[in-house]
Structure formats: structure tokens, C-alpha cells
Amino acid sequence: MEILQNLGLGLATAAEPVNLLFCFIGVLLGTLIGVLPGIGPTATIAMLLPITFGFEPATSLIMLSGIYYGAQYGGSTTAILINLPGESSSAVTAIDGYQMAKQGRAGPALATAALGSFFAGTVATVLIALFAPPLTEVALKFGPAEYFSLLMLGLVASVALAHGSVIKALGMIVIGLLLGLIGSDVNTGAQRFTMGFLELADGVNFVAVAVGVFGIAEILRNLEDESDREVMVKKVTGLFPSKEDFKAAWAPVVRGTALGSILGILPGGGAVLSSFAAYTVEKRISKTPERFGKGAIEGVAAPEAANNAGAQTSFIPMLTLGIPANPVMALMIGAMIIQGIQPGPNVAIEKPELFWGVIASMWIGNLMLVLLNLPLIGLWVRLLTVPYTVLFPAILAFCCIGVYSVNSNAFDLYAVAAFGLLGYVLVKLECEPAPLLLGFVLGPMLEENLRRAMTISRGDPTVFFTRPLSAGLLIVAVLVLVVVFLPSVRKKRDEVFQEE
């Protein structure tokens, strides 16, 4: 079996001592920032990106992905214990999880969340192993026209599934695309929009954009409201769920895993959408929907399984097609580019140990998370007492040193300040920064494929519609856009996201 062989190679890579260590550091950091509100995986990965520069590519990606799925675990801990979701993907877990904690059943709630996540993580790992190779095969047959259409679909879909105004999100994508074009033109070498700055010849530093728009803007947003966090935690007793709990929770876990796995693959999907959808489904099919919101274990099991599954399957389009489904995946692509790896279907073929190592490390990382989270819950909760006043100077110092270390260039630090300001202004105007980052990463790819496709077709723009695969992708993109603008769908979409 080829899959077993591949997974074997992956496990061997992931089990190398260095990779095990950094996988552990990744999930530890992930849990940490998952517990702490006000700092999420996107900002953390952006900050740590420069540090990974000196690592082996596999090690770097293993650690960064550990942060992402580790945050899903940490976020649920605080959601259950103090009704304060550390991550937005755990927001629905707080509804029933906190009620369970109030009834003295915090232990079973935490254990259900952790074990459900572990189950979902295991299934998602297998799914990635099963589906990544055939998708890679398909992707290798793609010409420039197909790539262009696929990128368009990815961008459009990321808007559709994000929250907030659709038009403004589209605007943010285009701004991102434009910013991505700054620098030397690959085909002619012409300097574009560099305003005479030599430092911009290689384009705007991706890390500076990510740190500015996510890291700095997030600090500023948190400084708007410096109210105290009330932390009152009862001692957690009786960790293990009863037989009845198991009986009630296993089906929701399976359903949550299935739903999360599907939604994770979609562009713009991932953990947040998955958990919301899973909760809604459980409530709808339950024979006793009135129990939801009053401590139903299904309301913890399903979304926790779903957000973990979604977090992991969102790696599929990133690893096979080089297309990020969400901002965290955009950062992963950035990490690959920093390492000199061209993201896309060739990664699986040219660097199988990297590709399969990252996949296998997810399973190992999930195992670590279960072992890390359940016995150490008291420790994580105590972290919440760290005041934000102490936290953000440290974050800022790491950002500065980290950004500088990428190119040893002070110019990048001024760019951080500029993008921090831009990010904050746009957030104030209710423009989501995530599409901007996606656009920034995809801008050069989009232009390159457009140019190539047009050259091959001798300037005939119908090439995008006459090639069946390309036409199909574009039709889906248009459909997605039409559906999002339908009034009824729009209302539903607002409902799903309003709880955030």
C-alpha cells in the first residue's frame, strides 16, 4: 500500500528528535495562546515566522502547524471553565461547556472536548493522507488557465465564507493583490510602485505585512478596552466522563468530525465555521433541543471535534494546490516561500519527507495535546491571571526582533508600523484583514498565471471558458458570488456569524 509507505516515511520524519521537540514546542505554544484571549494563532504564527527561517523546512512547518491546532485545544479549556473562549472557534463550546462546568461537570466537559478533538484529529490525518495524493495528481495537470480560475474561485469563496460585508471583503482582497504586486516585475524586471525604495525591489516583506496587519492591529484593538478579566475557577474534579456521557457524545463527535472535515477544505472555511455549523446541526437533529444551552454534552462534543477536524483538513488545499484556505494557511505558504520552496503540487513529489512529515506530525501532535491538556489543566487556567499589560510589550518586542531578523533590514520595521496603522484603520472600518493577506500571497501567482494563459492563447481571453476544467471552476466561483448576494442566504449567513 502506497499510503502506508507514505505515512511510514512521514512518521519517520516526524519522529526525528528535532521534529518531535519542535512539534511539542508548537502545540505547547498553541495551547498557551489558545488559553490567552487577545492573542490568536494567526498573530502568533506571523510573529514566529522569522524565527523559523533557520530551521529545516519540515521542522518549521511542523512547529507552525502545531500552533494552529494546539490553539483549538487551549481555546476550549477557557471556554468551558470561565465562559471565555480563547479562540473564536471555541465560542460555541462556551455555551454548553460553561453550563456543564457550573453544574460541577467541568471534568467530563474538558475530557469530552479533548478526546473528541483527538478522535477528529486522527480521522482528519487519515483523510489528508487519502485525499492529498489524488488531488496532487489532478493539480499537476493544471495549466495556467486552470490555475488562474482556481485562484479566482479560492479568493471568491474566501469572501463568501468570511463574516462581515461582502463588498468590503472583496475590496480588501483587491488591496491585498495590489500590495502583492509591489516590487520588480518578474517578466520585465521593471520596478513597480517602489517609490524609489531599493528595499522594495523584492516586494513588501510578507512577514512585515502579517505582523503589522494581524499582530500590531490586534494589540491596538485590545488596548481600546482594558477592563479586568475576572478569573474565578472552581477546582476540577472527576475528569472522566461516565458511561452515559460516552453514549451521548460519540455520535456527535463522529458527525462533528465529518462536517468539520468537509468545511475545512473549503476556501475560507476552517475551524471557526466548522464549530458553528456542527453546533447548529446537533441542536437541529436532537430529540431534546431544549437541553442545548443548559449543559448538553453534545453541544461540547460536536463543535470541538469539528473545529479540530476543520483546522486540519484546511491543510489539504494548501499542501496540494498551494492555495491557502484561511489566513493561517497563507502564513504557512509564506513560511514555505521563506524556505525557498515553491508551494503547489510539486511539494508532494519533490519533498515527500516534508509533505508526509507535516501530515504525520499532526497525529503525533494531537496525541501530545491530549496528554498535555488533561493533567495540566490547573496550570493553563492560572495563566489567565497574567495581565495584558505585561503581555503586549513582550509580544511587540518579539515582533520587532523577529521581523528584523528576516532580512536584517530596518526598513521592514517601518513597514510594520505602516501596515499596523493600515490594519487598525481598516479594522475600525469593519474591514476584515484576513482577505487582504490572502490576496497579498496570491497576487503574484494570479498575475503570473493570467499572463501565461494569455500568451499561450495568443491574447484570446475565451481560453478561460473553453477549457472545461477552467470553465467549471469559474462557473462555481460565479455561483458562489451570486448565492452570497441572495437576500435569504445573506440573512442566514449573518445569523451564523452573529454570535461571535
Partner: protein, 150 residues
């Protein structure tokens, strides 16, 4: 007639950015669809962004105001200033002093900052950063820069 200031401002910002990029393509070859010059794609994008900007602006008219939270001016200036100061002083002061400056500046960004807290944060975090980044990860920056050595 009411206008949603937020959406209107977003629209205006989109239009301004589109205008700046369109202006930037002036010095570039536009080319044709067959032989696209470096200016072709950006110009198309700027056009799309401008259109989206006008659409946003148009839709803001007649939409109710949405509540806006206050801007933490002190935090804004200090937090945005910190990386700039770091960039200006890193070569001269070296890693230790430049990091200390960043932490001291950003500690005061909080309205609750006290001198004791800022001072202890600065000392503690600076030591931590120098140990981790300079000794641990081998960042190629002088720890004590030329401005501080006589």
C-alpha cells in the same frame, strides 16, 4: 439623509488606494492582452478596486450609523512608534538597549502603566530577549552597539 460614516470612509479609502496605484502605473508599460506589460494587471485591479470603492460609498448613503469604539490615541502612537524607534536605533545602540527601548515605550501604551511595572518589565524582558535571540538563536546583531562603547 444619513450616511454610515464607517462604510463611507472605507469606500473613500478604497478609492484613494485605487487612485494611487493607477497613478503608479503611469510610468509602466501597459501592453496588450497578448503581451501584457508590467502595468496591465495592476491597472485592471486598480479599476476594480475603484469600482468597489464607489459601490461601498454608494451603499453607505441611507444606512444607519453603527456605534464606534474610541481610539486609544496614546497606545496608537506608542505602539506604532516602537518598531520605528527599534529600526532607527538597533544598529547604533545594539540589541540590548534597542529592545529595552521598545519594551519601555510599549509598556506605557497601557493607560494603567506604572513606573515600577514598566521598569521591571523592561529589565526582565530585555534579559529574556537577549538570552533567547542573541545567545540562543544567534541573531547576528551586536549586543552593545557602537553608540554605547567609548
Amino acid at each position: 439623509m444619513q450616511i454610515n460614516t464607517r462604510d463611507a470612509a472605507a469606500g473613500v479609502i478604497f478609492i484613494v488606494i485605487a487612485g494611487l496605484f493607477a497613478l503608479g502605473t503611469q510610468e509602466l508599460t501597459i501592453g496588450t492582452a497578448l503581451r501584457m506589460g508590467p502595468g496591465y494587471f495592476p491597472l485592471v485591479l486598480a479599476g476594480v478596486l475603484g469600482f468597489i470603492g464607489f459601490l461601498t460609498l454608494f451603499k453607505a448613503v441611507g444606512k444607519a450609523q453603527s456605534p464606534m469604539t474610541g481610539v486609544p490615541w496614546r497606545g496608537l502612537i506608542l505602539i506604532l512608534g516602537a518598531p520605528v524607534v527599534f529600526g532607527l536605533t538597533l544598529r547604533g545602540l545594539g540589541l540590548a538597549a534597542a529592545t529595552a527601548l521598545v519594551i519601555a515605550i510599549s509598556a506605557y501604551a497601557s493607560r494603567r502603566a506604572t513606573f515600577v511595572m514598566a521598569a521591571s518589565l523592561t529589565v526582565g524582558l530585555t534579559i529574556f530577549c537577549v538570552v533567547v535571540f542573541s545567545y540562543g538563536l544567534g541573531l547576528p546583531v551586536q549586543r552593545i552597539g557602537p553608540w554605547l562603547t567609548f
